[in-house]
Point group: C2
């Protein structure tokens, strides 16, 4: 069974999608691993970020979760070698209300992956990366229950830092009741500007709180990163040698090192 | 009855909270109006942004919506003249599931404001500003149903632009079924950098799509804006003469001009 990684933070705009697509693409290209990216955000930014046009997002994660399609039918190729995706579209935002009376709804994604074991084995995935929406509602809870471990992008800003304690409380609650082996793989500082006083303070706080869990690599603010989505490419492919791509490549290497030394 | 304004965009991190607190503070201080800010985001960033400590967020919007407190009991003073707030705390994220079987849940906030007419009149509010969470789920729908008009912060980036059509569809749907007088007051370009090619493109697209609705003023990326929340102050008070404060003051003036010329 592949390792299942959620990229998560309820604070909006901290770089979840950007991190999910560059981690997924980095594992696929640099490390020759088969990777599945699951877009679990009704905004569908991860689908856009790997070049899947909104008109091509039928047989989405929503259809899969409500049992309309099989796992295999939902997997789409991307233009990136070894990287496949299950897309998301706006229908997904209706799921929470539709499942309100289902007492097992938190296990829906975990059970789906378990039940599709053979289809997943056939694809020989080493990793499943899940891009989460900016909230602690059902979609994010489902992802926490289904995951082995979490990557938490942290924007070096005050509001983002304040939200961390809420995220940690939710993770602890899930660990106790729904997924006892869940752990935090690491905290990735994003949009980081060494010259900015606030960034330095946030980094210090994060290292005090999370110690070694904070990755050594961090991602600088880099305009090429925000240009990449309009070309449907992760920045590590859009502009290989820009500061953003180099930083994400370094992060992927550190991610792999931590995986192999576990 | 006061004018009810929602600050809304399901895309995360585009400047909703920053815009809500600076608009509310600007109306209160510069124009001597009594303003109520409602924090409708479980993250509670608007409450933080006007200096309300997390330990002081009892009698929150959640307690008010479930009928535990009255409107008057929920209103808290801030250190900003003429600005009061109803705070939010993480309990709010449980509301959607708790109300799942309530067919009238979309009207909850609208009916609450209607039922509290006398308490609101006593306070002599001219405006109620609602800071929405980054999603199109129940909390945001409740706010759309309760509002007269909407301010839509738009980050000058590709993912943010792509989300606009989804937002417009949702607003149209609400107008037809739940709130026929709802309109868009304006689109505010945030984190705007004139030198950046992508920003220029997003501005052009937004003006093509929304015409006059796009405010003439826009908010530059300015580090003082991201420092202000750690002091519990809107940037227009934290650093009156920085680029961010001057831009928000200009926006508030433009907002008022459009209000009076309606
Ligand atoms: N290091 C960076 N430098 C510059 N721009 C960045 C960087 N990381 C992300 N961005 C841009 O900032 C915006 C927010 O990033 P992204 O959409 O990845 O965050 P998110 O956490 O997934 O947002 P949401 O909460 O809406 O899901 C995007 O427009 C993205 O292109
Ligand atoms: N013009 C700006 N220049 C620099 N930083 C800004 C600007 N506007 C907002 N910020 C900072 O960017 C971050 C995102 O802004 P904010 O929290 O207001 O967005 P939001 O849309 O309310 O986010 P969410 O979707 O999580 O509710 C915050 O840390 C804020 O301080
Ligand atoms: Mg995202
Ligand atoms: Mg906000």
């Amino acid at each position: 069974m592949p390792r299942i990684i959620s990229v998560i933070n309820q604070k909006g705009g901290v770089g979840k999608t950007t991190t999910a697509i560059n981690l997924a693409a980095g594992l696929a290209i640099k490390n020759w691993l088969n990777v599945l990216l699951i877009d679990l955000d009704p905004q569908g930014n991860a689908s856009t970020g790997v070049g899947i046009d909104p008109s091509q997002r039928d047989k989405s994660i929503y259809d899969l979760l409500i049992g309309k399609n099989s796992f295999s039918e939902s997997i789409k190729k991307t233009k990136i070698n070894n990287l496949k995706i299950i897309t998301a579209n706006p229908e997904l935002s209706g799921l929470e209300t539709e499942l309100a009376n289902d007492s097992q709804k938190a296990f829906l994604l975990k059970n789906l992956i378990g039940d599709s074991f053979q289809e997943i084995e056939k694809e020989n995935f080493s990793y499943i990366i899940i891009d989460c929406p900016p909230s602690l509602s059902l979609l994010t809870i489902m992802s926490l229950v289904a995951s082995n471990t979490l990557v938490v992008p942290l924007q070096a800003e005050f509001f983002a830092l304040e939200g961390l304690s809420q995220l940690v409380k939710t993770i602890e609650r899930i660990k106790i009741n729904l997924n006892k082996d869940l752990d935090i793989h690491g905290i990735l500082l994003t949009m980081f500007d060494k010259r900015n006083k606030l960034c330095g303070e946030v980094e210090k706080e994060a290292r005090n709180f999370f110690g070694q869990k904070v990755y050594n690599s961090n991602i600088p603010r880099n305009v090429r990163i925000s240009e990449a989505p309009s070309f449907g490419l992760p920045v590590i492919l859009y502009d290989k040698y820009c500061a953003g791509a180099l930083a994400y490549n370094e992060f992927v290497e550190e991610f792999i090192t931590r995986e192999t030394s576990k």
